[in-house]
Amino acid sequence: MPILEKKPINPHPAFRPADPRAAVKKRSTYGEPLVWLTSVGLSAGLLMVVALLAVVFVNGLTVFWPKPVAAVTLSPNAKDSVGGAKSFAGTVIKHQKKITHAAVIPGQKSSDAPYEWQFYIGNKDLYGLGYKYIDNADIVGMSRPKDIIVIERLEYGNAIGRAVSLVEDDGSVVAAEHASFGNRFSAKVRTANERRAEIKVIEKSKIGRVNARMRELTLQSQELEKQVKGLPKHRQNDPELSHERKSIEHEERGLQEEYDQLAAKARALREVQNASTLKYRLLSGQEKDLPIGQVVSFYYPNQLSLVQKIGHFFHSFWRFLAEEPREANTEGGIFPAIFGTFVMTLMMSLAVTPFGVIAAIYLREYAKQGIWVRMVRIAVNNLAGVPSIVFGVFGLGFFVYFVGGTMDKIFFNSALPTPTFGTGGILWAALTLALMTVPVVIVATEESLAAVPRGVREGSLACGASKWQTIRRVVLPAAAPGIMTGFILAMARGAGEVAPLMMVGVVKLAPTLPLDTVVPFVHLERKFMHLGFHIYDLGFQSPDSEAAKPMVFATTLVLILLILALNLTAVRVRQNLRRKYALSAV
């Protein structure tokens, strides 16, 4: 029984249960339409990003997946033929409605339109092209024979056909039907690949080192001759000079000998490479000999189990990452481009961060805040909006021609007219991009400096620290995560940039890397390859656009993954800094 009689409650309107009918009308007060609008904005953006990533991932990854090969027979009266024959083997790339310019006949349904197939037929050395469209109507038979072999070669792309026999260096012949053929062939290919690596070591590093030393000696002797010319006549035959000349000549002779030896060794290895051959037959019956040295790998596409396919996938992806490009970049890997992008981005970040941080410290901490500082700040912000190609032109004019040219005159005079630093190179590319991204770092650093609480600064000054000590010991550590944010943004922008690089050092093919084992190990003057430029080159400059297309997607995928990896590393570092210098408690 209630002790107190309950009075009817008439609470404040805010506590009243909402009238369901009123709820619809009242929604605008709570801002639901805006929530809806903003979420649409976000999801539209997300959708586009996800779609882009999906396209890149699917197209980029399927490149490495082994696809079955079909044996195709064309009808005898078909207009088309492949290499003059009516039968061939190829991978199906596309099956689509034929694109014709003929007028659409009224009444005819579009589903009646003829279909066509696109095949990857390989054998570029014999057919002259790698991809071919065939009308559906011309095809009379399509099957997947188990014995079709795909051979990846150093030149002319893949060979597709049937293996006939293996002719070994001692003249013995192993027929493809023989049980030991598979094992023997793979063993041969393996040793051939090992030998190729050996040749590469000889030619790249060993001969490269000899060449580098030779070049130095040539410069030395040129320098010496110049000196001699400058001397009075009676001193030109100075024994000391002739002694020096002799020692140079002596060393040159020694190097020449070493070079000859290495070259002979490489030549001998090359000969062994071509000693045994593989005989294979196209589906048209044409037979061809292929030196084992030309074979990179082979597989039977129609025999692969799922596990083998997965293994093939990872193996080819790995080779794509680790190998150098071949055949005008449409075959092989992209290792030099990955390496060039990585080194250039790292150099750029290392150049831009101290520069931007120092500028921001002056702007925020030391400069008297007034109209001038405001104008400088506006100018810095505007700099971020300047088209990147303009920075490329500036880099070419200032870094390459002016700074590089001056350096050549002072330090590399003997090498002129061949430029050393007076031409595009990785150093100038990194500095140009650093200049381009410096506003990002300045703005981010300034903001993070401004966010350091006043109390912390005062605490430091009250302990008797000078202004610089306060900045170095307290303010900068506290601002470090914000500075890292600027670093990340700059890196992301710099890594994806292509246009300015084309002017200051990126090239289509640079087999020598900016870092290697030849003294002085870091070659800042070298030209380099870059993933972004590689994509542009493959997509628009390639002689075989069909062959380049899968490479474009695969390269794009690698570029995205590389930038992602760099950013994640930087974010990790920032998290550590945050944990260390968190000021949330202050």
Binding site: K368, P453, V456, C463, G464, A582, A585
Partner: protein
């Protein structure tokens, strides 16, 4: 019956808890409230800091008008007054902390031990080393406890490990923090509680062995227990340091200080022994303020 919106029982419970909490754990503040001036210092005053006709301007706006007062050595002097009265400004003038603000200017002079703080021969860094400061909001650096305490020595170029260790122990003991943190000196100072942080800031200030310790409302962001600890600490510290404390809390001024200065609208209204001032203020404004009629 609006109370039906809440659970009566629970509220009562909470009230009781809060009350018992204060009674049980902060007996000191209560005891002091009964005996307002338990530790009044009667030793003779020797003026250490002297302000003479000190005027101070933020841009064109004058914040202090002709302030003249003598702050005695090794005693606690409290500055009280309503918000905006200039008590913080004069405190921050003593170690020239106001120099950081753009457009400030001053007239008159402040001397410490006979030397003007504006003496061109004197470096402001040296001055701040002699005059330590503790702020309203504790501001430990994002470093370890150890590095926080030795910061002043580090910036002065002292890097000998033995000396630093000694100073850390001494300062943390003087600021009654040693027992709580001696096992985690290398841990971040930001992991400490609010009261511990403020004591750490005091340790950091006294590690420099200053003559003067300025405290700008050091307890205003702390709970009663932490406040009691800091007040106890101030009492201990005045044996070695001359302390000037700005406070909004009249009881605190009465509890910890030997002398009190009352500021109003940038002027020094009254400056006297705390006991005398609180018992028989000579000025009407002072009386009104300390009895809570305005402010």
């Amino acid at each position: 019956m609006p109370s039906q919106l809440y659970n009566d029982e629970e509220i009562t419970m909470t009230d009781t808890q809060i009350g018992s909490h204060i009674n049980a754990e902060a007996p000191r503040s209560k005891a002091q409230a009964h005996d307002a001036f338990p530790k009044a210092d009667t030793s003779p005053d020797i003026a250490l800091i002297q302000a003479r006709n000190f005027n101070f301007f933020y841009g064109k706006q004058q914040a202090l008008f002709d302030i003249s007062l003598d702050i005695p050595e090794r005693k606690v002097t409290a500055f009280i007054g309503p918000s905006g009265c200039g008590k913080s400004t004069i405190l921050r003038s003593i170690n020239r902390m106001n120099d950081l603000i753009e457009g400030v200017s001053h007239g008159g002079d402040i001397t410490i031990g006979g030397t003007s703080i504006y003496d061109p021969q004197l470096e402001v860094i040296g001055l701040r080393r002699r005059v330590g400061m503790v702020f309203q909001k504790s501001n430990p650096f994002p470093k370890s406890i150890y590095e926080n305490v030795v910061y002043g020595l580090r910036v002065a170029g002292e890097n000998r490990k033995a000396r630093l260790d000694e100073v850390v122990e001494q300062s943390l003991k003087s600021s009654a923090l040693w027992d709580e943190v001696k096992d985690r000196l290398q841990e971040s100072a930001l992991a400490l509680s609010g009261g511990q942080m403020q004591r750490l800031c005091i340790a950091r200030a006294i590690a420099n062995e200053p003559d003067v310790l300025l405290m700008d409302e050091p307890c205003s962001a702390l709970d009663p227990i932490a406040t009691a600890k800091i007040e106890e600490l101030i009492y201990q510290l005045k044996r070695d340091f001359t302390i000037v404390i700005v406070t909004h809390n009249m009881q605190q001024a009465a509890r910890v200080s030997d002398k009190t200065a009352f500021f109003y609208l940038g002027k020094l209204i009254e400056f006297n022994n705390t006991k005398a001032m609180f018992i028989s203020p000579t000025k009407k404004q002072t009386e009104d303020y300390i009895t809570g009629r305005f402010g």
